[in-house]
Symmetry: C2
Subunit: 192 residues, 2 copies
DNA sequence: ATTATTATTTATCAAATGTAAAAGGATAGG
DNA sequence: CCTATCCTTTTACATTTGATAAATAATAAT
């Protein structure tokens, strides 16, 4: 059972780049399955990000507070690599946390030993380089969306591209994710 | 003279990670110096991004059009790696172009041969992994700024963090960079 | 089931931002 | 030096969005 989840994760990661067998074996050593219940924090705010999570089933969100308001930076569904980039790559504490929006099954990989593996397994470094490149692309596209689209356009875009999120996450989180207030989102949904 | 610019570039790149000497030698082979005059496109809109530019001196911007309006996605000063991420990492044509805001001296590195070098020089792959991680962090931070800060807050933030940009780039480009109209920016600058 | 809690919608008003057009300023070329 | 062009500010007005509070709906806990 646990084996299965980790195998699925390795398969998923292999869609980014096919690392060689010995490298994947070493990687498997670092993989651990875990679960978080809906509403619970997988990682609280204030910690340094030293773990790479792969969401296997469920829904997570990265969030933080601005002026006491809870803001969802991103939603991460099944088959997503979940990290707080600014912290993982800089070694600084993150002002962001990871919380379960649904009961979630994940695989965790401790980052320091993973990065150490890179020295002996360049194919692993390449794999994760491509994983992070993909995340980078997503972030750039989201930036564009926030930079010059109206609130309504952003909502329609989400409806087109990820209609399931609308069903799975509470609207208050979706509102902040889209960079608007709950009230604004409600207005837009009321068609006008 | 040309040698000098390329040496400076290698030095700058080495601040991300110290690749070994043979790797850097191979990298130097791929470096070419170039210049673009103010107002000219270094890369026009519509091309696939296959070149990595390092801005040595001057100011560039990445831009695109939305509904016929020129939008500056980012400014890139001296000591910046300049690529259109969504294109370079996906191989798809970019809707974005790179334009010189000031007369600019740059070094270009052709991406396909660079990526090929990675196979023989893992330390180069690491170097560029770290380069792109740094860019990723910048983008995530910018996302946060656009997601829940007011127009005025975004302007103040730019004033704090990159006051030189205010001097070097026309306000119309700064306005779109900050995700607002020229009129709005003018209002904010008029203090109220 | 009943109550308490949380989420969502609605309403009202104020503030921020966009649109359009005009008026100054600055700059470059002849 | 003068004109033409581009950049920036200003004005007036329309729209969007935010803030606050109250009403309603949904959910969880007992």
């Amino acid at each position: 059972m646990k084996k299965n989840v980790i195998e699925k994760t390795i398969e998923y990661l292999s869609t980014f780049y096919k690392a060689d067998a010995t490298a994947l074996e070493a990687l498997t050593t670092l993989c651990f399955e875990g679960k978080v219940a809906k509403g619970k924090d997988l990682q609280p705010i204030g910690h340094t990000c030293r773990t790479i999570y792969i969401n296997v089933e469920g829904l997570l969100r990265i969030y933080y507070f601005k002026d006491g308001i809870d803001i969802t930076e991103s939603f991460e569904k099944e088959n997503s690599v979940v990290v707080r980039v600014e912290s993982l790559f800089s070694g600084r504490a993150s002002r962001k946390g990871i919380q379960a929006v649904e009961n979630t099954t994940f695989v965790s990989i401790s980052a320091p030993p993973l990065f150490a593996l890179f020295d002996h397994h360049p194919s692993l470094e390449r794999l994760f380089r491509k994983v992070f490149e993909a995340g980078y692309i997503k972030t750039v596209n989201r930036l564009e969306s926030l930079q010059f689209h109206t609130a309504e356009e952003r909502y329609r875009q989400l409806m087109d591209e990820q209609p399931d999120i609308l069903q799975r996450a509470p609207l208050k989180h979706i509102a902040s994710y889209l960079g608007m207030t709950q009230v604004s989102l409600s207005r837009i949904r009321a068609h006008r």
